[in-house]
Symmetry: D2
Subunit: 342 residues, 4 copies
């Protein structure tokens, strides 16, 4: 059997989550997230984010969450600024445009966009005499960690927040893999920082140990009225919402979300270290759970017969960048086995 | 504790489904429904529907499925004909219109619309000299069972199919509670009939024993190209698609879908019979898992303290129609307890 | 040649409008409605409506204006309440739904909906425990005169305004044929009343003597920010906006809008009177420029060879309701000729 | 008074067009483009394009036409490939995204995109294992002349057509200023070439001498069924369609469209020659009716007090690129006056 390093959604869920689902399975609760587990989960999440007057909604998937947030927060004449490598820019099949909004892409650096670049974009926009004929910037979309596994520092986020305040933009962070950011040694951005700096962000479950689910955190209650109805309108309201509630309550009840990712990052660091020792160079320097190396095309086919990894991009005529993903479900043995093969 | 008769999504999932999820939890599979469990589930479902060259997609929820189907199958100038009591007409928060399409409502009879009424609507439409200024009918949406718990007979569906052929309309059936229709003694429409008569329909999981999930069945492959991409675009593609695959495979592997509903209908019939004996009259004659009775408003408050039921509609100044839902998770004891109270 | 009584858009424009276009044709102005003619027109219109702090936008057509207003004023979770006979409900090819919003239809009485009916709808909506799963009413759409040629009285509009205030709804009036309402002897609603009672309405040009054009009047500036950009986004911004400005300035410079319609109504009244004398009964009692009579189907074919009129609806097996439209371009001779034929 | 060189929509319409409107003003015709002038115009246009089995629709404006075409021709999962400088990419306020489609931008060269670049984009797209999660390319949007005043050669268009055939893409050309392309000495692409190479394109009226109006040409009838209804749905159907018909009939009856532009190009060439003689360098080498020069910022303010021109972009700290537009309404005297000032 091949080793599974292709993505962080290849297993079901973390055993403790599964246990919680088993234990609560036959209880009867109200639907649509109005149950007590969802209430508990939301309270725990707000607490973890240091938010006293906010809202949490539990949704099923990442693209869905991005689409609901962006189309609900933006006015019809607004678009969302994102890195050209952002998930919404590339791999969501046009979900944002289907919702009526343009993704205003800025060139990325290691998967990130800087406050300077955003500032320049906005300054140019408002300087243009024709800007009333153009899509107004209304929101900034970042991913933490980025699609390249890199991290925004606290200083970088604070600078971006300043630009948001200056130009009246919402700051939205896609945290599909947020647990792995929080656990990285290089990270200096806490959940409380996100609760303070963003207007809305989501804490990813699907890639971080739940069966599925993303917890959408809105800093200030009623920023968008009737978000519940909008979620329903987008087909994103789970009938048995308590399944999300149970999972996120378990995650945030006693630090499971952090624990899961800490172990994953320990193994990712180990894999990174092992690769270095074997002379592989990281194609992208990323301190989270994604590891990118450049590999000779001749070796790649051989490797593919033993390991399930992701093709990332062609590097040159004879080399390819591939990606290994270490997840909450990766074991020490699997890392060892992979290092042996390489 | 109150008795739970308010809806069919108050518990988690059927124990056999849960067991299947437990057993497969740590297996590693491909994402997005490309795994082998999803493949097995789809094959079993097509077989059950007697379809040799169709497609199955596994989605998460009902509104989502309706929204994806309708906006994917219709041309932009088309709308969908539905009963004014249809779920898409009333309780989906405008999801269909958000997708750009008008719901062309016809007055219902017991939750249903007849071939005659649809025929008359279409004839009028094409007779109108201004019809190029109007929304063209492009699809018929039915629910089986309906929102009133009633059933279309095979003869009724065949007549509607004829109208569809005459006016080049897709026939789409919302089967959120389909299991309960199939198990009803009054039903004469099989899965194979649906596979033969509709262009697309869905087999509901959420209300019929899965944690969540609806199996969308398309009679003819590639009726709509790139439906996979459209599902993604609508935020409706589950990353760990295998969770849907495992559940629906379990349901269709050895007749669980039928068994679950048969028991629910047995209990619903028993409740119906008991109510009759106690002198309650059914407000809507429905042979599936929803039971509607008219109750004196004075008694209603008292009942509400002991039983969780649904308000349906005001009948007159002093009476209200309420709904009891018997589901896969209802026990004989609960039915007995409810009858005792009433 | 047949007599033209089918609609009010069969000629070009009123001679005085044409003269103004001729006179200004070779002047050079800024584009997109930022020219001085547009500024003058807007000032005159606001003055006529008694509005001191409002906005006027000049658009090209009626469906376009309805679509821009409704999709700009409504939040995504809101729909617009309209008569089931309203233009947006029937003859705009789904433009409102294409913009993402449901038309919440109420049954009409003579083309109108009453404050009572709207009140009842809203009361029911908010009483429904599931209303967060439904489309929220956000606006009322009326036509003055209605599609049936009937009029809302001042008292009726004031009552509707009260409901709007109670339920926080925008009041929007489609004035495609407004001039004919203002000129009707039965009318007691002035432009100033509309300026005071609605949030937004439009003064129709196309059917009232301009080549094309509708003047959208917003009672309070910046009710919707960046409406200019939204108009552009909907493809509704005329490059040479001054063509609209010149026409509406001419219309409102010295009472031309009133004069044109007064003459049309005089002729319509004459036609009505003549029909009565000849024993025809009005199928709809309408005091504006549309006249509806019931006619024997045998006579209809004969009439159709001499007069261009509109089919309205089948009355019974042997009779049809037909419509004559008297417009700004109808001459006394034409009315006489029509009466002679009938 | 300042000299008007800012755009090609500063006057009303060409005197011959105005005369035709005057002459036909009091005729009575059918609405919505079903009149005989529209029929004549469409026949003349199809003939000029060498199309025997196509369709012509007359719309009001450019953004409107782009929006209707793109959202009508594309499937919901498709986007449109365009230069990053394309009008739809920048100055249409997000009209295309509002219609649900992503603009897939390619980097321009002198306002153009090459067959090679499009080929590479498509090859990459289909090579990507994740392409079913991405927006599928469905159409290529070009402008002739481009927003930079440059021209596609016949050879370039033929090469692009080949890529379209290979990847099953529609080829759509925005001809807002098409007359000026056809009249340019460097042009080798005829209307018949466009009729042969594109699937759909439009012949601009607004910037080329009509009051307003764009003639949309579809090479093959019924490529998109019910386009009439879609035009209505987008609020783009002019009630008095004959106003468009009269204008385009006049334009194509006896070569007026060519004559108008020939004179404009003669004057543009003269201005270009004069600028050269005075030592100004063209910032963009463009052979049509737009002329771009780089100017010292100190001189710009002075010039702006005498001439109405367009700001194009900052060149460096002390220089700006400005644009002069010569149009059908520009006179020899105006060109002389401008040259004198410079």
């Amino acid at each position: 059997m091949t080793l599974a390093f292709a993505s962080d959604y290849q297993e079901g869920c973390h055993p403790e989550i599964l246990e919680a689902l088993n234990k609560t399975n036959s209880e009867k609760t109200e639907g649509y997230g109005t149950d007590s587990y969802s209430a508990l989960a939301k309270a725990k999440i707000l607490e973890a984010c240091g938010i006293s007057n906010g809202e949490v909604y539990l949704l099923v998937g990442g693209t869905q969450t991005n689409e609901v947030v962006i189309s609900s927060f933006l006015k019809p004449y607004e678009g969302v600024i994102a890195a050209d490598t952002g998930h919404i820019s590339t791999h969501e099949a046009g979900a944002i445009e289907h919702g009526g909004h343009k993704v205003l892409t800025l060139k990325h650096e290691d998967g990130k966009i800087s406050a300077e670049r955003i500032e320049a974009y906005c300054a140019d926009f408002y300087a243009d005499g024709n800007h009333e004929h153009m899509v107004h910037p209304g929101m900034i979309y970042l991913s933490q960690p980025t699609e390249y596994g890199t991290l925004y520092s606290l200083k970088e986020l604070e600078a971006i927040r300043e630009v948001c305040d200056k130009y009246d933009l919402y700051l939205y962070i896609d945290g599909a893999r947020l647990a792995y950011a929080l656990a990285s040694k290089e990270n200096d951005v806490s959940l409380k920082d996100l609760g303070r700096l963003t207007d809305v962000f989501y804490i990813g479950g699907t890639k971080c140990g739940t069966l599925f689910g993303e917890a959408l955190v809105v800093r200030k209650k009623d920023t968008i009225p009737h978000l519940f109805t909008l979620i329903k309108q987008h087909g994103a309201l789970l009938a048995k919402g308590r399944i999300l509630g149970v999972q996120f309550y378990k995650m945030f009840e006693d630090g499971l979300y952090e624990r899961i990712a800490k172990e994953a990052i320990r193994l990712a660091d180990r894999l990174r270290h092992g690769l270095e020792e074997k002379g592989y160079e990281q194609a992208i320097i990323a301190p989270t759970n994604q590891i990118f190396i450049s590999i000779d095309d001749k070796d790649m086919a051989d490797l593919a017969s033993k390991v399930n990894f992701s093709f990332w991009e062609k590097k040159d005529a004879t080399h390819t960048v591939i990606r290994f993903v270490v997840s909450w479900s990766t074991s020490e043995d699997e890392v060892d086995a992979l290092l042996e093969i390489l």
